[in-house]
């Protein structure tokens, strides 16, 4: 029997411990493989615009995955070896040299690494087609990315992870070699002391978390950017302290309540958990924070992805729009219509004309004390009703301002009503409503629109002010691939009059289908990449807890046996153990849900203010909840798998 054989036997004998370790490593390998296969897909760079930009992002994400995997592997390998200290101590006692011990550990790692690589890559190849189809669907590629095998991808995966495994093996070896024989042998015999706790610190931890939550929830949009770092810092600190001290304080209280405590399940749960928390609180708080980051990040991307349509339509309500001097419309119009015909897109043409003038907005917003005049487009109410398809009661002494953020990003400020000077004439408005949307596309004419009744509009028309016209082509097919192609062709092929240096803006052409498609591809990929990266993080989080569980398995097993000898049935034992493990697994997740809820709430406050004007808090949070539930499902599945392995290993030495 040589050292390789000992290593091989170790792996075989410890298989049920190794199994989850290997499974999570294989999972990471699989994700990495799929990721690389997407990144290097020959068709990816040619399938859509902006692929290069996306590729850089993907490369960065690949590095993040690799680095995180390294940290995670290092942690698990060390934890793993630590749980086997006694075994190594025995070998040292028998006179094994450090060199031989290293050989065994390295060989073990090679065996496990090879297994993980083999399984990971096999599953990667198995799921590759499905994966590429999913990506293609998500980013709406016209023809899906096909399955392809390349030795380069396989070799990249093997090389990357082979190196990682080897470095991890060497690092974790140090853990074993630096400890003396006595420590190795006594490792598990050291008496465990009951952890101390301080009620003040416990309260402080909870208070810090609540402060973080309150700040995130109530802060105004403009100070949130300043608060981000401090709030994250106090929430993290709070999480750590609460995990460490508050749980202890609660358990101590339960223990003090003797009537509660001296009942079978409470008794064992409370006393065991006190000790379990002592060794696990660090891992648990890290997991809470990591999961919070995962949920927040994914919730954000998911929200942006799913409100994309609304976002595009709110800024570009018209699918194809010509704006400017009506006299120049005819020539480009014909071109546009030709392209629509060629691309088989049914459009509806509408012409509208409005007055282009300026108003003194210090009349509307008292905080402005300049007398600068701002541009405005005045449109009659009938256009509004036509375009929006909704009615609104507007009297002659009332007006509606669309896109009014342009004037007042502060938006908290109330619009005051007064006489507006338009042209030379004053118009008194008793009431001015506001809306966030716009009737014309953002672009050169990105100015607020003042909607007045048709009667008032006629009076204004009589002043013979400058006008601006819009020719709108709207299509029900605007989200299709063809609509986007048409938009790109139009931008390329249609010559606009006056687009010279002297006269840049005789006509302005804006289209939304191409914009929609590009953002969809970008965000779709971001969502996908985000999902993959967080999945790796997530798998790591779960495994961290699992390894913690297994570091103490020997002791737990002894306790289990003692209790069985005292006559606790296997069923009762299982119930009690399940409860304990459930708390260790779920407590971090519950905290993470709280964290991400308030983080998303803060993000939505900013989003309402800048990007997603129409997106209310509820939208962001509902997407956050969806992500949370999805991950909770995965987490629960993992939990039950982990628990059943743990339980099997615990009750292995069952009494006959």
């Amino acid at each position: 029997m040589n050292l390789q054989k000992i290593a091989y036997k170790n792996v075989r004998q410890n298989m049920n411990r190794y199994i989850v370790y290997i499974a999570s490593m294989s999972f990471t390998v699989m994700i990495f493989y799929l990721y690389i296969s997407l990144m290097t897909h020959p068709k990816l760079s040619t399938s859509f615009i902006g692929a290069d930009k996306v590729k850089i992002a993907m490369k960065a994400a690949a590095i993040v995955i690799a680095v995180f995997t390294f940290i995670f592997l290092l942690f698990s390998a060390t934890a793993f070896l630590r749980s086997r200290k006694k075994e190594f101590g025995l070998l040292s006692l028998l006179g094994i040299s450090n060199r031989q011990l290293s050989t065994i550990v390295i060989w073990e790692n090679i065996i496990i690494g090879a297994m993980a690589l083999g399984i990971g890559i096999s599953f990667g190849i198995l799921f590759q087609k499905l994966f590429l189809m999913a990506v293609s669907a998500l980013i709406h590629l016209p023809d899906p990315l096909g399955f392809y095998l390349s030795t380069k991808i396989i070799l990249t995966t093997i090389f990357t992870f082979g190196t990682l495994f080897l470095i991890v093996a060497i690092f974790s070896l140090k853990e074993v070699l630096k400890t003396s024989v006595v420590d190795l042998i006594k490792a598990s015999k050291k008496p465990k002391k009951l952890p101390r706790h301080s009620k003040t610190v416990a309260a402080l931890g909870v208070l810090l978390i609540l402060t973080g939550y309150a700040l995130a929830f109530y802060a105004k949009a403009d100070i949130i950017p300043l608060l981000v770092l401090p709030v994250i810092a106090i929430t993290c600190l709070g999480t750590y302290l609460a995990m460490k001290e508050a749980t202890m304080a609660i358990l101590a209280l339960l223990r003090k309540n003797r009537r509660y405590f001296f009942r079978t399940d409470h008794f064992l749960n409370v006393s065991h958990l006190s000790f379990k928390m002592k060794v696990n609180y660090r891992t648990m708080s890290s997991v809470a924070i990591l999961v919070a980051v995962i949920l927040t990040a994914l919730g954000t991307i998911f929200t942006v992805y799913s409100v994309l349509e609304e976002e595009v339509s709110s800024n570009y309500p018209n699918h194809y729009e010509l704006a400017g001097d009506r006299n120049y419309f005819d020539v480009p119009s014909k071109e546009l219509e030709r392209i629509f015909y060629e691309e088989d897109i049914k459009v509806q043409r509408i012409d509208i004309t409005g007055i282009m003038t300026t108003i003194d907005i210090s009349v509307l917003f008292k905080s402005y004390n300049t007398d600068r005049r701002f541009q405005v487009i005045i449109l009659p109410y009938s256009y509004y009703e036509n375009q929006k398809g909704q009615k609104r009661i507007l009297n002659d002494d009332e007006a509606l301002i669309l896109n009014y953020y342009y004037y007042s990003p502060e938006r908290e400020e109330k619009i005051s009503t007064d006489t507006l000077i338009i042209g030379e004439q004053g118009f008194y408005f008793n009431k001015i409503y506001t809306e966030e949307n716009t009737l014309v596309n953002q672009g050169h004419y990105r100015v607020p629109q003042l909607i007045v009744t048709d009667t008032v509009y006629k009076k204004m028309q009589a002043l013979a002010l400058e006008t601006v016209s819009f020719r709108l082509y709207n299509s029900k097919q605007w989200k299709t691939k063809r609509a986007a192609i048409a938009a790109r062709r139009i931008k390329k092929e249609v010559a606009l009059p006056g687009l010279t240096k002297q006269e840049p803006y005789k006509l302005v052409l804006t289209t939304s289908p191409d914009l929609y498609e590009e953002s969809q591809v970008d965000l779709g990929l971001a969502l996908f990449v985000g999902f993959l990266v967080t999945l790796v993080f997530f798998a790591a989080c779960c495994s961290l807890l699992y390894f913690r569980l297994f570091t103490e398995i020997d002791e737990d097993r002894k306790n289990y046996q003692r209790l069985r000898e005292l006559g606790l049935s296997s069923k009762e034992m299982q119930k009690i153990t399940l409860k304990q493990v459930l708390i260790i697994f779920m407590l971090p997740y519950l905290l993470a849900i709280g964290h991400s809820f308030f983080a998303l709430s803060a993000l939505s406050t900013i989003a309402e203010y800048t990007v997603l004007k129409t997106t209310a808090k509820t939208v962001v949070l509902s997407h956050g909840i969806l992500i949370t539930l999805l991950y909770l499902l995965l987490y629960t599945l993992y939990f039950f798998t982990a628990f059943s392995v743990y339980w099997k290993s615990l009750s292995k030495a069952e009494l006959k």
């Binding site: 001296f262 008794f267 049935s569």
Partner: protein, 258 residues
């Protein structure tokens, strides 16, 4: 009243898949009356521990049967077995087997808690047995904070707190120094006078001299048994005589065996 009745007990290990069978125990019969304090002695490998395991329901006999408190334990399964163990048996182990996560008091209370005894009864019982075993002062402490002797007395307290029909002790003094051993044996004797039935496996002739009767096992068979008279010193000498007849090596007669 007979508490324990072992009839023609036999245990064969192995013998499957071509492996040679080992007869660990053969045709052992004996019985314990209520309030008896009986020791089992014999050289290493004689089958003492196997016998104790069969009685304590941790292992099942190949032949014969064990009746404890009028129940045939070989007929019990799973749930019933657990329930039987927690009602009728009390264990004292060589390495104490106290739970580190519980205080001494909680450790003692454990069988009662498992048996879902009401809180009031529970505290009363625990303080009673703690007093009887002289460990009232260390009740709020954790096992690692008290001496080995106190730990073992706590284990003894745990073994009797639920008034089991039979207390089984496996080398209870194996990890104790001579002073602690003596204290423990005095304590057990005290319990015995209170009508507890105790079956103890030991190597130590001095410890064994506290018993009323000793069964000697040799090569898996019941070799002989001796009854204590009034004089413990004489009984001790008697034990030594039998042991030397059994041909036990000197090392096995030393006080402490690890």
């Amino acid at each position: 009243m007979v508490i324990l009745e072992a009839t023609r007990l036999g245990k064969i290990y192995g013998g499957k898949a071509g492996k040679p069978a080992t007869q660990a125990l053969e045709n052992v019969s004996f019985s314990l009356k209520k309030g008896e304090f009986v020791g089992i002695m014999g050289p290493s490998g004689s089958g003492k521990t196997t016998l104790l395991n069969l009685i304590s329901t941790i292992d099942r006999p190949t032949t014969g049967k064990v009746i404890i408190n009028n129940q045939d334990i070989s007929a019990l399964k799973g749930e019933q077995l657990a329930s039987f163990r927690r009602k009728e048996l009390g264990f004292i182990f060589q390495d104490f087997n106290l739970l580190d996560t519980l205080t001494i008091e909680e450790n003692i209370a454990l069988p009662l808690v498992i048996g879902k005894v009401p809180y009031k009864v529970l505290t009363k019982k625990v303080s009673e047995v703690a007093k009887a075993l002289g460990i009232s002062e260390v009740l709020p402490k954790y096992p690692y904070e008290v001496s080995g002797g106190e730990q073992q007395r706590a284990a003894a307290a745990r073994a009797i707190v639920h008034d089991p029909a039979l207390i089984l002790a496996d080398e209870p003094t194996g990890n104790l120094d001579s002073k602690s051993s003596k204290d423990l044996m005095e304590a057990l004797k005290g319990l015995n006078l209170n009508q507890s039935t105790i079956l103890m496996v030991t190597h130590d002739p001095f410890v064994a001299s506290y018993c009323q009767r000793i069964l000697f096992i040799h090569d898996g068979k019941l070799y002989t048994q001796i009854q204590s008279g009034d004089n413990r010193q004489a009984f001790f000498q008697q034990i030594l005589d039998v042991l030397s007849m059994l041909g036990g090596s000197v090392s096995e007669l030393t006080k402490n065996r690890l």
